[in-house]
């Protein structure tokens, strides 16, 4: 799929009609069908991936088949409608939040222009209120007295194949970023509505490959990439060599080591692809500098959890392996790396899904003695909290001039900011590792941060135009600080961000590179024993030596 030229797309975003319909809508939203064409949908999940997931204990992924959203016939099961309605009933009973979100919207419209997908596509069905209405209309029709009697007059509508197709279109044009929820006077969590839509669609075999393949990889090999234990180990060791070549100090590492104090888990992309590799080097440099007693795991080799983008059971299963491994190794607690959605799962679902993790201890920094009370139940500390605490206690020797090539700004990842409140720690770390950095405009950062546009497993190339559109509000803020303050680096704390913001910046702001925060920490750290073997690193860990 070719992506339009920047001039075309920016004009279209600002002035053009809806992306979905190609025209300013003239009909009621219920009368406009979802039309699938190459480039506006992510590829359906491959048959063998669905079959594999369905064969796993505790998981249910029926109706594996070859199909295409562009075909009229999606090869749904014969009684698909009953399956969906029963599925909805079951979830209304199980999740009280869903029932409340279905009932309490007053259509005030506060959310409408807060969604990056709406801003980027101009499609009214991407207004969060309307996205929820796609499900709410069916709920009203079949589950409320008013809807059963008055039908369409009460905002109800019958569940049809057309409605199901619309669900597929718009539940995969939402990144579950929850920016809209910040502005909702009722606090309706649109992410949970999207999650329910996706769950219901899986009941009839409708899902996308870019999510189900990583989810099945993670179940099979321990990580999204599908790195087997020996490959995972080789990759980390390769990075150890790189760190030694660059800094002159070889970090000590270990794998699956019983009795280590801490288990370290990060997204597998950190040990596979740029620019995450530099962040992984940063972790190892940091842990070496403080002599941390920690281990990597080739079993719990993934921080991310594409189950969150799939359904409750998959999320629970993938999350459980981190704790199973922590228990097996007998560590005291877990430190988690720079991942976004892992922290949404950890902070908001883990405790009632797989917790409490009573076999672990409340995390205490072995270097500073700080007790991380915020992680008292999950027993998992964010690398940035851990680092900020080290800096606060003067335990790291940092040389900001080693980042003199960097003029940074900070992108709050949706999940770490809105789902766990990690707002000040990364800024505190930045203050201490770079000479100067600036904030993007205030309505685009912290709780109000704009999504990268490609989260929740939408970081696949076949929907590149959609991604560039939905990422435009973020890119626009990056452009602003680039033009005004010569910013050349966008720092963040999420693996999806690192990959997707790189594509986004390459398109909208090619002068700005993307890095993980811990890469900048790794650049700045002065190791006690670094001596003469340290190379001249004009570009930090990215220097070619």
């Amino acid at each position: 799929m070719s992506v339009p030229k920047l001039e075309q797309l920016s004009k279209s975003v600002a002035q053009g009609p809806s992306l979905a319909t190609g025209a300013v809508p003239t009909q009621d939203w219920m009368d406009i069908p979802a039309v699938f064409k190459s480039g506006n949908y992510a590829y359906p999940a491959k048959k063998d991936k669905v079959e594999y997931l369905n064969s796993q204990k505790g998981l249910y992924f029926p109706n594996a088949r070859e199909w295409s959203p562009e075909d009229d016939d999606w090869k749904l099961p014969e009684d698909w409608k009953n399956i969906i309605l029963n599925g909805l009933k079951e979830r209304l009973d199980k999740f009280r939040s869903l029932k409340i979100f279905m009932d309490c919207c007053v259509r005030c419209g506060a959310c409408a222009d807060k969604c990056h997908f709406f801003l980027g596509t101009g499609d009214p069905k991407n207004m969060p209120v309307l996205r929820a209405e796609l499900l709410r209309s069916v709920y009203r029709n079949d589950f409320t007295l008013g809807g059963k009697i008055l039908g369409k007059m009460a905002g109800g509508r019958e569940m049809t194949v057309g409605v199901l197709k619309e669900w597929f279109m718009y539940s995969y044009q939402c990144t579950e970023c929850r920016r809209c929820s910040v502005f909702c006077p009722y606090g309706i969590d649109t992410a949970e509505i999207t999650m329910m839509l996706r769950e219901l669609l899986h009941l009839v075999g409708v899902g996308i490959n870019w999510i189900l393949e990583p989810a099945s990889n993670s179940n099979r090999t321990g990580n999204h990439m599908g790195l087997q234990p020996h490959t995972f180990k080789d990759n980390v060791e390769f990075l150890v060599d790189d760190v030694e070549n660059l800094t002159g100090v070889r970090p000590n590492i270990s794998f699956n080591r019983k009795g280590a104090e801490i288990l370290f888990i990060t997204p597998s992309a950190d040990v596979f692809a740029e620019p995450g590799l530099y962040t992984a080097m940063g972790y190892m440099i940091l842990f070496e500098a403080i002599g941390l007693d920690y281990t990597w795991s080739t079993y719990a080799s993934e921080g991310g959890n594409f189950g969150l983008f799939t359904n409750n059971e998959t999320m629970k299963k993938l999350n459980a392996k981190m704790y199973a491994e922590a228990e097996r190794l007998g560590v005291k607690y877990i430190i988690g790396g720079e991942c976004g959605h892992m922290w949404r799962v950890l902070h908001q679902y883990m405790d009632t899904m797989n917790g409490p993790a009573d076999f672990l201890e409340v995390p205490v920094s072995p270097i500073t003695g700080t007790k991380f009370q915020n992680a008292a139940s999950t027993k998992m500390v964010h690398i940035t909290e851990f680092t900020a605490d080290l800096i606060k206690h003067g335990k790291l020797k940092l040389d900001k001039s080693r980042n003199s090539h960097v003029k940074a700004t900070f992108h709050d990842s949706c999940n770490t900011s809105r789902a766990m409140g990690l707002l000040d720690e990364p800024r505190y770390v930045l203050d201490h590792v770079v000479d100067n950095w600036v904030e993007m405009p205030e309505n685009t950062i912290r709780e109000q941060t704009f999504c990268c546009g490609s989260g929740t497993g939408l970081n696949t190339d076949e929907i590149m135009e959609l991604r560039m559109r939905s990422g435009y509000p973020r890119a626009n803020a990056v452009q602003y600080v680039r033009d005004k303050f010569d910013v050349n680096t966008l720092a963040c704390v999420c693996a999806i961000d690192r990959a997707t913001l790189t594509s986004l910046n390459n398109y909208w702001t090619p002068e700005v590179t993307v890095c993980g925060l811990t890469e900048l920490v790794g650049n700045a750290i002065v190791q006690e024993n670094e001596g003469e073997n340290r190379a001249v690193l004009d570009e930090g860990l990215r220097t070619m030596v």
Partner: protein, 106 residues
């Protein structure tokens, strides 16, 4: 899934044009077929060296190598790999070698 016929060979491919059955269906005709769409005019020993390295690694690991590992095993700097495969090692070279595309946070 679409099927491609080229010089008497038949290949099943996915939506992105990667070989669905991987190396099982891979042969020289596949390389010849991908060459044109990747904008490679002459296939050299250097191309073959990259393809061989990718396949050998894949057999041992079930996944494509990190680009840095590919660069080390072939001895080609990253820049040279991009010159050889204009759409990059992940897309062009892996497609030509019959490897699947990596997924996840990449």
């Amino acid at each position: 899934m679409p099927t491609i016929e080229h010089k008497g060979s038949s290949f099943t491919v996915d939506e992105d044009g990667f070989l669905l059955k991987g190396m099982e269906e891979w042969n020289d005709n596949w390389v010849d077929y991908v060459k044109a769409s990747e904008g490679i005019s002459d296939l050299t020993d250097e191309h073959n060296k990259v393809i061989d390295a990718l396949q050998e690694y894949y057999k041992k690991n079930g996944i494509a190598p990190m680009v840095r590992i590919l660069s080390k095993t072939t001895g080609f700097p990253l820049k040279r790999i991009y010159e050889l495969f204009p759409s990059g090692p992940g897309k062009g070279a892996c497609k030509m070698a019959g490897l699947p595309k990596p997924t996840g946070c990449v």
